[in-house]
Structures are given as C-alpha cells and as structure tokens.
Amino acid sequence: MTSQGGVRSRLDDWLNPIVVKELRQAVHGKFVAAALLLLLVVQLAALGIYIVSNGDFAGRFDAGRNAFMFLLAILMAICLLFVPAYTSLRLAFERDTNVDLLFVTTIKPSAIVWGKLFAALTITVLIFSACMPFMVFTYWLRGIDLPSIFVLMAASFLVVAVAVQLATFVACLPAGRVLKVFLSLLALIMFLQAFIATLSWSYYSLSTGIGSRLGSWSFWGPALAVILIAAAVLGLLFSLSVAMIKPVSSNRALPVRLFVTVMWLVSGIASAVIAYVQRDNTALSVWSVLSVLVFAGAFFVAVSEREQLGPRVARKIPWSGLRLPAFFLFSGGASGVAWAALMSLLTYLTVSFLTASSVTLKAGGSIKETKVWVGGLALYGLAYSMTALLARRYLLARWIGTKYTWLVALLLLAAGCIIPFLIGYLVAFGSFNRAEDIGGWLVTNPFTLGIDSYQSTYLVFAGGWALLASVLNADWFIEQIHAFRPRELAVPPPGGSSELNL
C-alpha cells in the first residue's frame, strides 16, 4: 500500500460511521438532490426577475443589498425548513426502529448524535456553497460589500446549526407520537422566529454598515458573545440529545449536568470579567438570571427522572468520600433536585459575594433586583416541581408515570399564572390599571417578581411553599439517598440452573 493509500485508509477509519452512512444515503436518495436543484432554480429565477424588474441600476446604490436580502430569505427558508426536518425525521424513524442495533456495536450515543449533526451541517454547507455564487453576484449590483456577505452568511449558518441541533433533540426525545408532533410544531414556531430575526438583523446590519465595523471591537465584542451563547445552546442541546438517546441503564444525567456545571462556571467567570472591565453589573445579572432559569427548568426535569438506579449505574457509585459529590452527578430524581438546588444556591451566593466584595461590580443596575429574581425563580421552580411530585405520587400515580411529572408541573405553573390573575382581575374589576393593583393575587406567578411592593411577600410565600412541599416529599428524598450506595453485584447462587445436556 502506498503512503497515500495508507493515509486515506486511516482517514477513512477515523470517519464517524454515522456521517459516512448519512452522506451515502443522501447521495443515493433523490430528496437532497431535488431540494438542492429546486433551490438553485428558485435563486436563479429570483435573481433574474429582480434584475429584469429593476432594470435601471445606474442611479441606485441599494440594489445589491435588496437582491442579497431576497436571496438570503430564500436560502434561510429552505435551510430552516428542509435541513432540520430532514435530519430529525430520519433520526426519529431510526430511533424507533434501528437504534438498538447500534447499541450492540461499539459506537457511542455521542457519536450517533454528532454524526447526525455533522452530516446535516455538511448538507447545509453544500446548500450554502451552491448559493454562494448568486449571493456574491449581488456585490456587482452595488450596495453591499463582500465581507458583509460572508459575515451574514456565516451568521445564518450558525442559526441553521442551532436549528438542526434543536430538531435533533426533539427527534431524540423518547416521547409518544402526539407529544413529538406538538414539540415539532413548537420547534417550527421557533424556526419561524429565528427566520424573521435573522433577516431583520441582517437588514439592520447592512443598513448600518456592518462591513465597515469588521476591524473594531464594536463588532467583535457582540459577535463573540453571540458565538459563545450559540456554542452554549448547541452544547446543551447536544448533551441533552445524547442523554435522551442513551440506554436507560446508563447514567444519563452525568454528561448534561457536567456540561451545564462547566458552562455555568465558564460563563460566570466571563460575566464577572466583563462586569469588572465595564464597571457595570449587567453582565453578571444576565448570567445569574439566565443560569437560575436553566436550574428552575432542571427541577422540572429532575422530578421526572427515575427513582431507582439500575445495577449498571449503581455499581459505578464510589464507596469513598467521593460518594457525596457523586450523588449530584448521578441519574435519579432526588439527585437531580439536589443538583439544581445546589447550583441555584451557588448562583445566588456568587452574585452576593462578588457584589459585596467589589465596589466596581456593584456599580450599574440594581443588585437587589437581580437577587430577588435569582432567589425567587429558584424557589418557585422548586415549589412547583415538588408540588407536581406530590400530586403525581399521591393523586395521579394510576394515570401518570414518573417520566411525565414535568407535564404536571407545567400545568400547575400555567394554572398558577393564569387562574389567580383572572380571579384578581374580576375582584378588582373596574379599578384594575396595572398588575400591581392585584399584586396580592399574583403570589403564585413567578414572572411577577418585578413588582417592587410585593417582592418580599412573593419571596416569603415561595420559600414557605417550597419548604412545605419538600418536607412532604421527604420520604422520597430519604429513600433515594439511602439507596445511593455502590451495589455489590450479588453472585447468583450456584445450582438451580437447568444445564442442557446436549
């Protein structure tokens, strides 16, 4: 074998099998080729019609920009509709029928999700590359420069990548068909919003001359922030997808909780540095509120996790002093609630400590307001999830399985936000002008924490409610904490086995 052949062979071995399979299927199938050809025809026709209908370009300096926006809209519509749908439908189908076969091979769940994402991004690159000549052509129509074209295409690619990963996550969910259709519709609405937002932002960027700012921090600062946020969302959705596709007998929670913990730490440090440099605590406030929103969501997920560990997970629990920290990173309802509560508390303490120890970090917006939101959201998240757990365990056990406790929590939250508001509105009918007028009624609504005069009431109420619901679920916690010990695999007793004398 020549050295070239050897390199090719090694490269071939290194390729993710899922990527190879997906791309081969895309090549064999007519769907991708047809979609690509259709896109090219539409782009060509759109550009032709635009040029013919706007014949006089001599006195116009926005023709290129308008034509580019027109083409970008077509490209994004195809990419935000076709690529995520193509990827998620294929994965959802294979998840139901063929994924077991992959689990008896040496391939890992993370490689499956990564392979799907990479193949989808490759198809996206193919589509973007095919459209690139038309997009670049708009440069000759004036009103747009080449760097702007490339920057906007790169930003659009990032949006498509996040959309594909979101669609992959929905496809990985072990939910029934009805719930999946509902979630797919939600994802579609999000894609529509992403489509509108991308086009609006692109038009705004072109109008304000994004190309001229490429060498300055005023471009790269926000750009880096957006890239980091997109990377965090991609990473979170990726780790969630891997967790969803992993066999039930594995420690599904570990990669997700590790990723979120690391992201929390990294983004926290970055926010603190930015707040310190800018002498404004806005970055720290945004970080802490966003973090606690994630942890409030984690409470809902945690109460839907299994309550008993299987032998494969249990045998990995360490005996030593690592058992306590390990509890927070293992699958299981109680450990999930404990992790989310710990992270919420750490977020609150971090903000309190940093702002108390540095005058620079205290400058800017109201830290008190931030702390109310951080504490309040965490307490309401805990209260709602614990109440849902209580309802599921004692009232709904016959109808609702553990894995749907989040749905009960979500319904309770919706009821807690809407019903008291309606009652308050009817009671104060005629004298109602703003939310503050019925503030007392909104005590179960976590999104009204901004009403200054009721903040203390809300916090005391949420704290008391969370404490009471947690105490009522104490047996649930104790049972799982007690069971969290390394399981010695019982060596089955000899004998009693029917030896087939063949």
Binding site: S9, R10, Q25, V104, L489, S497, L500
Partner: protein, 309 residues
C-alpha cells in the same frame, strides 16, 4: 464457551416479564427458545444482547457478565432482532460496511470481512441492491450477515423464521447448521416448532416469564409427565380391552374406533410398555400397538397454558 443464564429477573412495574429463569448451554449447540406470545422470550434475549438490564440475576457469556461488563459481552454476542433492516436509500453492501465501521473493523480488514460474510450468507450477488427492494428472506439474511460481522461466538436470534417462505426457511436452517458446526452457540426463538425441532439440540420452554422445561430435545421428548396417544388393534373383543384398559391407573381414556382402541396415557415410554405387558398377561391378543410420535409441538401444548400477563 458457555452461556449461563442465572436466576434472571426483569420486572416492568408490576409485570414480571422474566421471573427467575436459569439455564445453561454450550458452544456448538442450537437451543430453541419457546413460549407463547408475551412469555418473556424477547426480553430475555434483549438482556442477553445487553439491550435491557435485568432487575436481578445475571447472564455470563464465557464468564463475562452482561450486567457488569456489557461492553465486553457485546463483543461476544451477535443479535438478530425480530425487526428487519429498514434503512432507506442504502444498498446491502453499504449497510454491512456501516455496521462493520460501527463494530470498529478497520483498514484493509473491513472489505475482506464484508466480502467473506457476503459470500457465506449468499448475498454477494445482490450486494448493490437497495435494502427496501429485498424480499423478507433476503432481509433476514442481511440481518444475519450484520450480526456475524464481528465474528461473535454467540448468536441470539429472535423469530428469524417469521414470515419466511419454505425455501428461505430451509436456507436459514442450513446456515444455522453450518454456524453451529463452526462452534457458535445459538439461541433461537420461533413459533414454528417443527422447524426448531429439526435444527435444535435443545429447547427451553417458558411461559409468563417462568421456565417450564429445559433440556436436550431427545430428553424432552422422552421425559414423563406427558400425555401420549396410543393405538391398539386387538385380534378380537375390543370391548373387553377397553374395560380392562380403563381399570389401569395411567390410562386417562380409551375409546373404540372401528376395530381399534385409541387411548390417552399419562406417562412415559415405560408406562406404555407396562400397559402392553399387562394386556398380554390378561390374555388379550394384540396385533398392533402403536404410540403416536410426540413432537416439540405436543410438549409445548402440554406444558403451556397459553396464559399471558
């Protein structure tokens, strides 16, 4: 190489899908796994293939625990599920190449392995055909080829003969014989019991998650506790014969039919021979004494009740 299923249990909520099953078999043997629908066959097989985790108990494959070392156990097991390959836009060769990659078969070895398996399973002629265009029998072969890619010493096959035409079944049977001859241990579930009896050395019968019977086919066929049908043709006086037969302890029924008497005997071959001796001693002139052959199907019908959980 030995496969030991030890006190295996799998509960789904209150349902005991597998309830304390234990049996052992060795390399080179084909074992039939028999039971009514919902008996726990697929769950047991999925545990053997490391796809399900047992609630209790274990399976040791050549000493490797499927609970403790699922990754190592996977290398020893080839699993053919009851579902056939459904990938779209994929040729037979691409399908096998994909799984060979997934099994981490690398470099120049991969095409050799795939070629060898295609030859063995008689897929070489249709390697470029799309999967969706294949017949059930061909898809079943592709499924078997996939399971053999990493040359596992143990093969777990869930209903491989379901929906196959007679020719495809005969071809599958021949393949299994060759594989057993190569020293592979094969556990195969099927509802076509006559088929199983022809290719299996042993059988395990389960119902409602519980093991009812297990052993070599010949042993199962000859063990007691089974009802046998015997036809006796006396030279004369069949009515007297019926009367004497009904007085015997193991005879459940005796009915004259033409010049013959058909009786149901609850017992082994030995009991049947004792009945014959007793009849001769009582002076009956017996021209013909014929026991109907008991098949795996008869054993299955005798030991199972058809109950599901």
């Amino acid at each position: 190489m030995k496969i030991e299923v030890i006190h295996l249990k799998k509960h789904f909520g209150k349902t005991r899908a597998v309830d304390d099953i234990s049996f052992t078999f060795a390399a080179g043997h084909v074992v039939g796994f028999v039971g009514p629908n919902g008996a726990g066959k697929t769950t047991t097989m999925r545990i053997l293939a490391t796809l399900e985790e047992p609630t209790d108990g274990d399976v040791l494959i050549d000493g490797v625990s499927v609970v403790e070392e699922p990754e190592r156990a996977r290398e020893l097991v080839g699993y053919v599920p009851d579902a056939l390959p459904t990938h779209r836009d994929m040729s037979v060769h691409d399908y096998l190449d994909f799984f060979a990659r997934a099994y981490a078969i690398k470099g120049a070895r991969r095409p050799k392995v795939i070629e060898g398996i295609e030859e063995f399973t008689n897929l070489a002629g249709i390697r470029e055909k799309m999967l969706y265009a294949l017949s059930k029998g061909m898809k079943q072969r592709v499924s078997l080829a996939r399971a053999l890619l990493h040359d596992p010493p143990v093969l777990i096959m869930d209903e491989p003969a379901a929906g196959l035409d007679p020719r495809a079944r005969v071809e599958l049977r021949e393949l299994l014989r060759v594989l057993a001859g190569q020293g592979k241990a094969i556990l195969i579930s099927s509802h076509i019991l006559t088929e199983l009896a022809e290719i299996c050395n042993g059988a395990v019968i389960i119902e409602q998650g519980k093991l009812l019977m297990a052993g070599a086919i010949s042993e199962l066929l000859s063990t007691g506790g089974l009802r046998r049908t015997v036809m006796i043709r006396p030279l004369e006086r069949p009515e007297d014969l019926v009367r004497d037969l009904l007085q015997m302890p193991n005879v459940e029924s005796a009915n004259p039919a033409g010049g013959e008497v058909v009786l149901e005997v609850n017992g082994s071959d030995e009991v049947c021979s004792e009945i014959l001796i007793a009849l001769v001693q009582r002076g009956h002139k017996i021209v013909e004494f014929k026991q109907q052959r008991v098949g795996l199907e008869d054993i299955f019908m005798n030991v199972t009740k058809g109950d599901v959980q």
